[in-house]
């Protein structure tokens, strides 16, 4: 019974790590492909929170001792605080320095102004 639970946990853990890796890749593609600064921040923060979170929860399920689990959960908590804060700081800095989000119809023109 216990062995079965352990193997199920390992299976779910592997799946979560894989899902995290896929989300991270999706986020990276988004950073490269999205048209303006704000949408790119959105893609980057997906990498930060969801990607890293999935990987860490997966690692917790994959096991390690008690202390490894606690440390991973603490790291997850820190990422949950710092990631969104960093995204907010970026968006805030862009907004206060008057970077305009793209509106309807802006996608037709090539945008050269959105340097990160």
């Amino acid at each position: 019974m216990l062995e079965q639970a352990a193997s199920i946990a390992a299976f779910v853990g592997q799946g979560l790590v894989l899902a995290g890796a896929i989300v991270t890749i999706i986020g990276s593609v988004g950073v490269l492909r999205f048209p303006d600064f704000y949408t790119r921040i959105h893609a980057a923060s997906v990498t930060d929170t969801l990607g890293a979170g999935l990987i860490i929860v997966g690692l917790v399920l994959l096991g390690g001792g008690f202390f490894v689990t606690v440390k991973l959960l603490i790291i997850w908590g820190l990422i949950l605080i710092t990631g969104p804060t960093a995204s907010h700081a970026l968006a805030n800095a862009a907004f206060t320095s008057h970077v305009k989000p793209l509106g309807r119809g802006d996608l037709r023109q090539p945008s050269a102004s959105d340097e990160g």
Partner: protein
């Protein structure tokens, strides 16, 4: 690097190779980029990837140092120095690139030539592993009694070298203070106090609520982690240098979010100067105490007078070594934390001067944290 081994046969080799390719790509991007801000961000990325690579090479102490010093504090100080200069580098004419290019190519050829005689990774017959390294591994637990051999070598066997490194940090802080001042000028004009690093604070709408709340959560944790790294250095990766840098980063983050003058009120520049000197004094003082008790300089077995050492240690303890290493690590932490903070004060304290001269590059506005 073992060139005879097939790269695909060993996943860890492949991982290391991928990291090295990333390092090379980031380096090219740094060289090509003309925007200094981009270069600084890429430098931080470079050090983080390098730290990952050190982890892959089983060197967590080095990786830790690289992450906190390269990724943390030097990126922050470079950002601070961009505030004092221009935003983008001027293009260099090709004729002025000739001699640097020749020098770089020659150095590269020399390094490539030397690669052939580097022993393979983990080669037990290499000089480092066969003689000195094995000696340390065999003797450390008997003579010093702490599990982390790296800390034992740094703090005890090579205590004199580490004293030199601590003094170098102190000297660097003194040099920056002599060149840029103590940063206390930023406090001089009360009207400009808040604008020093944070022009948005004087606006009507407060844009920094989220940053302030998150920073209030994070800074105590950073201090706690710094102290953990300091006192856990005997057992795990870490030690005085890393701890000092983490404490300094906590202060710098405070300055970036709450404004320089707030930080300087909580941690006065004079205290930072005193702390930087006190750290070196603690370190060298431990050595002198050893001499007074009849040992050699920095021989911690003589930290206490021999009878007391006997009483404290018991049959197989090394009380003098334990307390001596903790004492000098505290000294290192004091010097590094205060020294880096003093350097940051020196840079940041110049910002209002430049802003008042109208040469400023505009608001720095929170994005730097």
């Amino acid at each position: 690097m073992e060139w005879t081994a097939p790269l695909l046969a060993d996943p860890s080799l492949l991982f290391g190779a991928a990291l090295l390719v990333m390092l090379a790509a980031i380096l090219c991007a740094i060289v090509v980029s003309r925007k200094l801000l981009t270069s600084v961000a890429l430098t931080g990325l470079f050090t983080l990837v390098a730290a990952l690579w050190y982890i892959a090479m089983d060197a967590p102490d080095v990786a830790f140092t690289e992450a906190v010093v390269g990724g943390g504090v030097s990126t922050l100080i470079l950002l601070g120095s961009i505030l004092l200069t221009r935003e983008s580098a001027e293009p260099v004419s090709p004729s002025r690139m000739v001699f640097p290019a020749i020098a770089v190519i020659l150095a590269g050829v020399a390094i490539l030539y030397a690669v052939g005689s580097i022993p393979g990774f983990g080669d037990p017959a290499s000089p480092a592993n066969a003689s000195v390294g094995r000696d340390y591994l065999e003797r450390t637990y008997k003579e010093v009694g702490i599990p982390n051999v790296v800390s034992a070598v740094l703090a005890s066997y090579r205590g004199f070298d580490t004293l030199g490194e601590t003094t170098v940090v102190f000297a660097a802080a003194v040099g920056v203070m002599l060149l840029l001042g103590f940063g206390e000028r930023a406090l001089g004009d009360p009207a400009r106090r808040h604008e020093a690093l944070n022009p948005d604070l004087v606006e009507e709408i407060d844009h920094h609520v989220v940053l302030r709340v998150a920073t209030k959560i994070m800074i105590p944790l950073m201090f706690l982690f710094g102290l953990y790294v300091l006192f856990h250095g005997e057992v795990g990766a870490g030690g005085g240098f890393q701890a000092g840098v983490i404490l300094a980063i906590a202060l710098i983050v405070h300055a970036l979010v709450f404004g320089l003058s707030e930080t300087m009120r909580a941690f006065p520049a004079a205290a930072m100067r005193a702390g930087a000197s006190a750290g070196v004094l603690i370190y060298a003082g431990v050595g002198v105490i050893n001499m007074l008790n009849g040992g050699a300089f920095l021989d911690y077995d003589f930290l206490f007078p021999p009878p007391l050492e006997q009483a404290l240690s018991g049959p197989d303890g090394h009380a003098g070594q334990h307390y001596g290493i903790i004492a000098i690590e505290i000294g290192v932490t004091a010097t590094v934390a205060s020294g880096i903070t003093a350097i940051f004060y020196g840079f940041a304290g110049r910002a209002p001067d430049i802003a008042s001269r109208g040469a400023s590059r505009g608001p720095e506005s929170g994005g730097g944290s």
